[in-house]
Symmetry: C2
Subunit: 314 residues, 2 copies
């Protein structure tokens, strides 16, 4: 009898679903819209419905489908209870129990960034390492910490929220979280753009960034073209992120650090700006860490979710 | 049949040994000297010998003694392999296998600070919490992170080395690790003394610290007597430690933070100086953390070592 698992990654606008064999081969993937109306009460029934349809479509017997893993944007504790997910309209309830009641199969749930980290460990840029920091540089900065092959969930599901580590006392702009000087304000796509605009204003240096759109992409494109001002921005970005990763590594002592998210599309050059600052500041016991880029892109979440439920079943 | 375990805490000058029942009641404790001569090759045989003698003395059958846990000052990985312990003269070898070969019973080993953290979780200031940061403010700053009731060991046994998190760019004095601006330079007993001496030099303020010895103890005694200069030192100490604990908490999302080591003898007043800075800077998901003082003192290591081997056997 073949056995299969589902990996589900719930986002604010779409839910990604993946259908895997137990070795982690992605056999099928698709998306459904996230219906956030009415307190997000349709989201899990919609997912259950979609999974049932897929089982029928593929002619899979219920006992061949051994479980469903779920990642969602919010703090989710080790028992699969979400503690408010604002983007989905969710309050506090058990994702695990709710979905198990509908589907009649084992469900595991975790925070989306943590689950994506598990995916990168399993089938992505972190393969071969069991102790891992995954940092996702998107609109914000997300993080997932893997310890001995397992997600660091934390007491209330807020483990790995490294985007809100305070890194700059002198900051005056406010972060979305209400604090000032969070890592996210320097290392996210928005943060890089902010740093670039600030430098364009305060410097008289010529730059290709003075004409056209300023974004994390255009900044790193300019870096590759040896634009001096852009390189100063990248240096600032790398210092904040590298030093912060060094602090995290003193806590975690990772084997590898994986950089993902939209900003990571800039490629290996990103690591060139981060690594020297990391190595300068980190405790020697964690100096020999492998830096790599995430490879699963938007599929990291469904891979990690599948792995989460597989680990729970074994 | 009763069952017993041993907890062993190896220090640079003495080895502490504890004899426990499986509920964690400390039935006997004693010390032997640490013989660091000849590459520390006598240390484990001495421990084995001492354990055998104790079993004979108490008339315990070998099968009633179910295991030995060991904490030692150095990076020790999840397989019980130490990667150099300079203070003991040790290079790289398996503590677990070496001691198991002599004693013919299961052995587990871990870094002393991590093991002590496990002890505080089990029977000390961290009781009731499974996700814990334990920070030990002694000559240096040590740390132990407990995740889901288990020590965070890390890839090479350097997990929880929080004393060497970089917290100050402007520092000019060197830390023992070779870097500058490590947490240890502000929050250890030595660090508090350094901060106090620096302030005494740069301030014209009157203070009881101007006459007599300056130490972490005299500083916090002066704080309790409302000495203004001492309170400024405590404020500086609390800001560095509180903000650094906030960063660690963004990674770990702990349920509780336990403060131990010699400096913690100052009592609850220490927490009054740390907590406001912690709460100001931490991500809201980790704001409601319980701060407490360590309670096991120098016995934390033997308790934690006993727990380490008990967990491995269950």
């Amino acid at each position: 009898m073949s056995q299969y698992v589902f990996g589900v990654d719930i986002g604010g606008t779409t839910v990604k679903l993946g259908f895997f064999d137990v070795e982690g081969n992605l056999l099928d993937k698709w998306e459904i819209p996230t219906r956030t109306q009415e307190g997000g009460s349709h989201i899990l029934p919609d997912i259950a419905d979609s999974i049932q349809k897929k089982l029928n479509e593929k002619n899979i017997a219920p006992k061949e489908a051994i479980g469903v893993g779920v990642g969602a944007p919010g703090p989710i504790d080790g028992q699969g209870v979400v503690h408010k997910a604002v983007n989905l309209g969710w309050g506090v309830f058990s994702i695990k129990e709710t979905l198990e009641d509908i589907l009649k199969m084992p469900v595991m749930a975790g925070n989306d960034a943590n689950v994506a980290a598990l995916g990168e460990m399993w089938k992505g840029g972190g393969q071969g390492s069991n102790d891992l920091i995954v940092v996702t540089l998107g609109t914000g900065v997300g993080g997932g910490i893997i310890i001995g092959g397992k997600m660091l969930t934390g007491a209330t599901g807020a483990g790995g929220e490294i985007g809100h580590i305070h890194v700059e006392d002198a900051e005056t702009d406010k972060c979305g979280c209400g604090n000032t000087g969070c890592l996210e304000q320097y290392a996210s796509a928005t943060g890089v753009t902010r740093l670039a605009n600030r430098k364009l204003k305060n410097s008289s240096k010529d730059s290709v960034l003075r004409s056209g759109e300023v974004s994390a992409k255009t900044v790193f494109d300019a870096v590759k073209a040896k634009d001096e001002l852009a390189m100063e921005v990248a240096e600032e970005f790398g210092k904040y992120l590298g030093e912060c990763l060094a602090a995290i590594a003193c806590v975690v002592n990772p084997e590898a650090i994986v950089i993902g998210g939209g900003v990571s599309k800039a490629g290996e050059i990103l690591i060139d700006y981060i690594k020297p600052h990391y190595e300068e500041k980190v405790f020697h016991g964690s100096r020999n860490v492998k830096f790599s880029l995430a490879t699963l892109g938007n599929d990291a979440g469904i891979y990690g979710a599948a792995k989460l439920v597989l680990d729970a079943l074994n």
